[in-house]
């Protein structure tokens, strides 16, 4: 009997316990559901923000990848191009004489009213008589230069008619794309009513088409001819800086991390170094710019606005990131791998370089890419070392003056022709993002390959 009673009380107690557990269970499930909901909400929010950003950038940037281009048959009319035949080398002229004659000829070319050729071509195609001022409003400012260099390269064109593609001016492009309000009254429009009508007419006749803007990638920045401004200089500047960062920051950073993590004795000095590295990672990038200006330019007299200086500054900025990430990766290697190597009689150096480092390679690569991508997008320090200067040439070496993609974005963002450069800015951002994507793709490719091998 007592046994049965005990069993009953026992089962009662266990039922009570079960009820308590069930009550707490529903509480726990609720907490779980709330947490899950919050997580999903956070992800949705993040995705929405990133989506908006990308949509903004792409919807604004894509139109500027296609730009209004005039297709004209240009006649190099001898009445307009009033220059003699180009001097020929070796035709009885000494080299010095030839040099002088050639310069004279080029001077004569510079005085030719090339816009008149364009005006003639437009008259031929539309029947509208326009003057030089109208041409300047209609086509990009460097159209005359395009014609001149075409003729200079091939003087035989005199008297001939050739089809040429010329960029419509920035204001004209705005009008055709509708980035300027078409309903604005005349006094607030950038272009005269005649020019606007002519543009619409040419567009309707397909004399003006929207062509892919290759010049965006091959031309350098331009202030006088905004329609033909391109990213080539900034792209090369960024590329040089990236190479410098990779060549300097990766070996120095990884080597420091290996030394600090694996070989350095644990004492006050290494503690101090560690604290300093962690603090450096949190230093605002503009401070690194100041440092670069003070040390590299003032003290070492390296050229101002040069990608070399920019690369050095960005290297300093990237080093802490790479060191910290590499140390974390080394720390994460399981002690059993180290023991396996040491137990076999591997020296410390052999252990580190033959076993630990290969395992951490993927993480180090990831850290490097994050660091380099960060450096690639950095603007502030570059402003302080003069890389926001207007540079109208592609840098041939890291010692030439140059600008960088993010700085180009900043410069274009501040351009007074907002209607035109807003899209340009987005296009530059697309190129910047593209460069980063390529970089990341290379890193992921290398990482998966290394992981598979490991």
């Amino acid at each position: 009997m007592t046994d049965i009673n005990m069993q009953q009380t026992g089962s009662e107690a266990s039922r009570k316990r079960l009820e308590i557990i069930r009550a707490s269970l529903s509480r726990r499930h609720r907490a779980e559901a709330i947490f899950k909901g919050l997580g999903i909400a956070a992800i949705v929010l993040a995705l929405a923000l990133v989506g908006t950003l990308f949509w903004q950038v792409f919807s604004k940037g894509t139109p500027s990848l296609f730009q209004s281009t005039l297709h004209l048959d240009i006649t190099f009319d001898p009445e307009v191009v009033e220059v003699g035949p180009a001097p020929e080398a070796g035709s009885g002229l000494s080299p010095a004489e030839y040099e002088e004659a050639y310069l004279d000829w080029r001077r004569a070319l510079a005085l030719v009213n090339w816009n008149e050729l364009i005006a003639n071509a437009i008259r031929d195609v539309s029947g509208t008589e326009i003057d030089g001022g109208d041409v300047r409003a209609l086509v990009d400012n460097n159209a005359g230069l395009v014609l001149r260099s075409r003729f200079q390269d091939n003087p035989d064109l005199l008297g001939q008619t050739v089809p040429m593609d010329l960029l419509v001016s920035a204001n004209g492009d705005n009008w055709l794309k509708g980035t300027i309000d078409r309903d604005l009254p005349d006094e607030r429009q950038q272009l005269s009513a005649d020019t606007r009508n002519l543009l619409d007419e040419l567009r309707a006749d397909d004399v003006i088409t929207m062509d892919f803007a290759w010049h965006l990638f091959t031309n350098v920045d331009s202030r006088t001819a905004p329609a033909s401004a391109g990213l080539a200089g900034a792209f090369m500047g960024s590329l040089y800086m990236m190479l410098i960062v990779i060549v300097l920051a990766v070996p120095i950073g990884v080597a420091s991390a290996i030394y600090l993590e694996e070989f350095a004795p644990q004492n006050r000095i290494t503690d101090l170094i560690e604290v300093n590295i962690n603090n450096l990672a949190a230093v605002p990038s503009i401070v690194f710019g100041l440092l670069g200006a003070a040390v590299f330019i003032n003290y070492f007299h390296l050229p101002i606005s040069a990608p070399l200086v920019g690369g050095l500054v960005l290297t300093l900025m990237t080093l802490p990131t790479i060191i910290i990430a590499t140390r974390a990766a080394l720390k994460a290697v399981s002690p059993s791998l180290r023991q396996a190597a040491l137990g076999l009689g591997a020296s410390k150096t052999q252990m580190v370089f033959q076993h630990v480092l290969p395992v951490t390679f993927p993480s180090i690569l990831t850290a490097t890419i994050i660091g380099v991508a960060q450096a690639l997008g950095e603007t502030a320090p570059l402003l302080l070392i003069g890389m926001n200067a207007f540079v109208a040439s592609v840098p041939a070496s890291p010692l030439d003056q140059a600008t960088a993609l993010p700085v180009q974005v900043y410069l274009w963002q501040g351009n007074e022709n907002r209607n035109f450069f807003e899209a340009r800015t987005s296009a530059a951002i697309i190129v910047l993002l593209g460069l980063m994507l390529v970089l990341n793709a290379i890193a992921i490719f290398l990482r998966t390959r290394l992981e598979r091998r490991g």
Partner: protein, 278 residues
Amino acid sequence: MDMIAGRGNMAEQNTDKAAKVDTLSDRRVRVSTRDVCVFYGEKQALYDVSIDVPDRAVTSFIGPSGCGKSTFLRCINRMNDTIEGARVTGKIDLDGDDVYDPSLDVVELRSRIGMVFQKPNPFPKSVYENIAYGPKIHGLANSKSDLDEIVVSSLRKAGLFEEVKDRLHEPGTGLSGGQQQRLCIARAIAVGPEVILMDEPCSALDPIATAVIEELIDELRENFTIVIVTHSMQQAARVSQKTAFFHLGKLIEEGPTEQIFTNPVHKQTQDYIMGRIG
């Protein structure tokens, strides 16, 4: 009851073995330690351990967790060097060479004393590379064919060759747990050590894999001096000829295995073997 019955069986087995290997006291001493103390910072982990490890036999260290048996094992090949703040006093000799002599190169020492760890830890490389690594760094192979030979013979000695001969160039981490541990044993053998230290080599393995490894250990003692740390008394009884019992950092008792298991002198040893402590 079971325990005692088991003990009886073990004792019988061990008497057989003892007859086969004659008395341990006649054997050459391979590793001898005198008054070894280990400190981790201020804390003393091991107190005055003195023991002789006989040549070509299996010596097992048993004792409850935290008794210092693994710590002591790691003193023999100076793996404790890698632990920050660890300090070893006393004397450990390998064939008469002082292991802690400052002029002795620890790399050379570890080529003479191989080690197998608790968790199988093959390198994340191919089976072949795992075994070839030791001979390569020590310059033991003059040619590719030498190396091939070392790899194959090491795998054979570890009883693994038949199982992996078709996948020598596949990652060693892809093998089963027991195979991985035998790969680690083969890797240790490949360097040609005099002594092999095993730190609970079967604790991560299932009973079948454990049985295979135990059999292997029994074969290996023909050629190697083996020291094994184990928390399984049955394992100690099955594979070892000499047993040392550690408790709270002290060596309580050591002697021929059958004596420790059938007729322990100290009460603590008896309690542990009977399952009363630990």
